[in-house]
């Protein structure tokens, strides 16, 4: 015969024994873990930047900040434009004052604590502007390192952050080789470019794309062979940033140069 005490104990063990494997299965569902990560979505958003066309006006940065409520004066931005000035002496000077929120309006190059540096026009060997944004990588390292599943990739390839679930550890910020992530100044969660997911889903283009007067920025669906962006990516010489990290970035660059960091 079992006394009451023993019965309670055994009941607890049995109940616990049942709960643990059941809930563990939720996390380690092998079928789901092996789920094809590629999926068969009809849409996969990609970005195309034409460096030749960029004039460094920064209207994209302005539009992005307003569209996505990024604090205007905070020194962080979801997208930015870099200026590269290569001198005839072989030196490369790079800057992006305030992420080019106000464009590039002076020849002086901002070297942060080293002050402003001016290069005489006759000493410039080449100069160009490079818009940057989240690459929405095929293998996003920032998503891989999120300990709680607060950042993820949608079916369409867009990397998003769940603002209600992010613990603010900063691992994703450190994990991104492109420096596109930062902490939201007031919400204190990881923040990044969403490729204007809310606009894309409505059939519109990203705010920065609409704002660019020169067509330097374009967004398209790589799964649609008729998409003009897809046609360019598949038929012309395009490059990606920091390919060596194995992140498979999905932001393609026309006219890139070896100086581009």
């Amino acid at each position: 015969m079992m006394n009451r005490r023993e019965f309670c104990k055994k009941a607890c063990i049995v109940a616990g024994g049942l709960i643990i494997p059941l809930s563990a299965l939720e996390v380690f569902n092998p079928r789901r873990l092996l789920a094809e990560k590629d999926g068969n979505s009809k849409v996969r958003w990609v970005f195309l930047v034409d460096i030749h066309k960029c004039v460094g006006c920064g209207l994209c940065v302005k539009a992005c900040k307003i569209e996505n409520d990024v604090d205007w004066d905070a020194n962080v931005t979801r997208t930015w434009v870099e200026r590269y000035v290569v001198t005839k002496g072989g030196q490369t000077l790079i800057d992006s004052p305030k992420g080019a929120r106000d464009g590039f309006i002076t020849q002086k190059i901002d070297q942060a604590s080293q002050g402003l540096k001016e290069v005489k026009p006759e000493e410039i060997a080449k100069a160009f502007f490079v818009p940057k944004l989240c690459n929405h990588c095929e293998n996003p390292p920032c998503v891989q390192v999120c300990p709680v599943g607060a950042t993820y990739q949608t079916q369409e390839g867009v990397v998003l952050v769940d603002r209600t679930w992010c613990i603010g550890c900063g691992y994703c910020v450190m994990g991104c080789p492109y420096g596109v992530r930062y902490f939201h100044p007031t919400l204190h969660v990881a923040e990044k470019c969403t490729l204007c997911y809310h606009r894309l889903c409505q059939g519109m283009k990203s705010a920065c794309v609409d704002a660019c007067p020169f067509g330097a920025r374009r967004v398209g669906n790589i799964r649609d062979p008729e998409d003009p962006v897809t046609k360019i990516i598949t038929t012309e010489q395009v490059n990606v940033l920091k390919e060596e990290f194995g992140t498979k970035p999905q932001c393609f660059y026309l006219g890139s140069s070896m100086e581009v960091k």
């Binding site: 309006i105 769940d162 969403t194 705010a207």
Partner: protein, 162 residues
């Protein structure tokens, strides 16, 4: 005789059980593995919809011409044809309901984004007519002399004279 050695283990099991129960209570129901697998798709599904509902501020560039066709024709025949209205007139939001009128950015800072001369041959910027903002009427607003919808300087000079 009962073995006391297992007592700490019972406590451990109780704590683990507590965590698991908290988990079922705290974790949203739609949290799980989705299209991109466990590595890239482990998330709360409803968050996607939350992002989709994010309010749009800049409307499609074509939308302005529907109510302002004459302005659209004007700018389309000028060198500023490629500049979308909302870059200077500000985001549309729900205009004309809210706001009824848009706040136009007439600042010098807006114009010199492109028209501050930078001597970068080989870029489009090098080819844009540019000034040195520090010496070209530094105190003035550009719109005092140049009409943004038809910015050819010659036209303006004639207009200013007449």
């Amino acid at each position: 005789m009962k073995n006391h050695v297992w007592r700490p283990l019972y406590i451990v099991l109780a704590i683990v059980g507590g965590i698991i129960i908290t988990r079922t209570l705290l974790v949203p129901n739609d949290f799980g593995v989705y299209e991109r697998g466990y590595m890239y798709g482990w998330h709360r599904k409803s968050n996607e919809a939350e992002w989709r509902k994010y309010p749009i501020k800049y409307k499609s560039p074509q939308i302005c011409a529907e109510c302002h066709p004459e302005k659209d024709r004007e700018i389309k025949s000028s060198p500023h044809a490629s500049i979308s209205c909302q870059n200077c007139h500000g985001p549309n939001y729900n205009h004309p309901d809210d706001p009824q009128g848009l706040t136009i950015d007439r600042s010098r800072g807006l114009c010199i984004r492109c028209h501050a001369h930078l001597p970068y041959k080989g870029t489009l910027r090098g080819g844009i007519p540019g000034i040195n903002p520090e010496t070209h009427y530094p105190q003035e607003q550009c719109v005092m002399c140049h009409i943004p919808h038809s910015p050819k300087p010659m036209i303006q000079k004639r207009e200013v004279k007449s």
